[in-house]
Amino acid sequence: MDKLKLLTIICLLFLLKTTNSYSLIEVDITRGNLNPLPVAVSPLFQDNKSKNEFQRELNLDDLGSEISKVVENNLKQSGLFNPLSKDAFLQKPDIAHLKPRFEDWALIKAQALITGKVSIDNGKLKVEFRLWDVLAGREMLALAFTTVPNNWRRVGHIITDKVYERLTGEKGYFDTRIIYVSEEGLKTQRVKKLAIMDQDGFNTKYLTLGNELVLTPRFNPTNQMVTYLSYFRNLPRVYLLDIETGIQEVVGDFPGMTFAPRFSPDGKKIIMSFAKDGKSDIYVMDLENRIVEQITNHPSIDTSPSYSPDGKYITFNSDRSGYQQIYVMKSDGSNVKRISFGNGLYGTPVWSPRGDLIAFTKLHKGKFFIGVMRTDGKGERLLTENFYQEAPSWSPNGRVLIFYRETKTNEKGEGFSAKLWSIDLTGYNERLVETQTDASDPSWSSLLSN
């Protein structure tokens, strides 16, 4: 679990000489981007001495090139950038990093250029990179940091985050992880395990063995803890897992099923449903003193609670009107208001980290939609339609949603699969998120570094 130990990551970001002058290039992420910005990601230069060390330590011939591939892939997947083929690059990485010949890069239609250098310094991986505005012929960003060599993929993610932030004006979401439920086996006997991976699908680790059914894992704000539902000993209860130590403990040990857990924005509480005698209500547990408070008290099903980022409100799913709809209330349970009034059923509300939107699943005329609405229920916008999909989770910057999709089986009941997908808030850039096995119930972490 060393790699997961977030604090071991010495990530000393220090400014070399950032030029904050206005630039010609900027990327608008509020609209669907049909003309992604052409960007050249030069392989990061490495000297011969460092090359040997990287070879020995990481078994990689060209670490600088590998890191640039991580950056390229991230930029491409964002849908906002178009990384150009390296075959067309005219300038060598070391020289480009010192002073690019902008005419050469403009010739291949690059508007932005990323250059860099990796070296080994006292066993630490030292990285420098620069972002250049090719048309204006000036540097936009220059950063350097050191970390343990094993963290080299994260270096690529951090570089992408910084470039994304500089060009869009908003925080990135690349140095993040996804926790999800890995699925294998027949549809009638699925084996499910908790799994965690980097946002780009690398470094997958399985956190449970599959001996018991596990569902709906969710990160806490510091990414160290996960709350989820486990059927350990055939008692469906809410659990807490420390990713670093692997220690699991039951937290929702009520006289009945506890489920649908999520952390409060400060990470100090877990909000969940407790089902007893055919009714499900929402409860909150304080993790420090283990005091439990009942938030809703209604004969209906109240579930899928999610806090607003300021912790003052809770959105949840209830069928008190007769069918599944979305409601908002104050965090003490007062002022319950229904906000979904469109045609169909609504479930899995989840509050955006920016606070302005609630993402949801909608079932209408036999189709499932992922959509967003404002927190008063107005401005409903459906982003994607499918045979079955649900459980959206927000990227930490509130620009992308990840969810899962299940396929329809054929007449013989074959062909079932469950996969993770993501889509931009704009409704563009819908794409499959690759996982080693079938996957469901994704939860996106916050940024690992800032």
């Binding site: 027949l186 055939n234 479930g347 699943t361």
Partner: protein, 172 residues
């Protein structure tokens, strides 16, 4: 045109007509036969969208079905379900050493968390009915599997109807 030719032609037409009629009749017959067969099959298996067939149904004991079925999004017990549960209650009263778990299930056409709650509600509907017919509460526990344990992996209304169920299982 000579009369004989006309007659000949008419004859041909008549024969042709007969053949065509014969053919249509046969085709019609098969079509109707097939159609009614499908219809009656689904009629036997579903009432509204509640499953009433016997496929997948096991026995708690000889002559006592182990499960009851529900309509979409519902936990109301149908007449047939109540009949099944009364049989279960009778058997449980006669076998007072047996405890049971009532498992509640939902079909795949709902969000996971809501379906967990719905499964729990269905299991409790069955439990309550067993209690009404004299089985004490401490002999019945409930567990909801939501949509996690379908018995039929199909993606069609009949498969879904088999999966919307509560199953009474011996616990000891």
């Amino acid at each position: 045109m000579s009369l004989s030719k006309i007659l000949k032609n008419t004859f041909l037409v008549v024969i042709f007509g007969l053949v065509v009629t014969a053919c249509t009749t046969t085709i019609k017959k098969t079509a109707v036969g097939k159609y009614s067969k499908i219809e009656s099959e689904s009629e036997v298996q579903m009432q509204g969208d509640v499953y009433i067939g016997t496929d997948t149904v096991g026995e708690l004991s000889k002559g006592v079905p182990d499960r009851v079925f529900f309509a979409t999004n519902e936990s109301i017990l149908t007449t047939i379900s109540r009949d099944t549960l009364r049989k279960q209650a009778t058997w449980l009263r006669e076998n007072s050493n047996v405890n049971v778990v009532v498992e509640g299930h939902a079909d795949e056409r709902g969000t996971r968390e809501y379906n967990l709650a719905l499964g729990e509600r269905r299991a409790n509907a069955a439990k309550d009915y067993l209690m009404t017919y004299g089985v004490s509460a401490d002999r019945i526990s409930v567990i909801s599997y939501g949509k996690e344990r379908p018995v039929d992996s199909g993606s069609n209304p009949l498969s879904w109807s088999k999966n919307r169920r509560s199953v009474t299982v011996k616990a000891n």
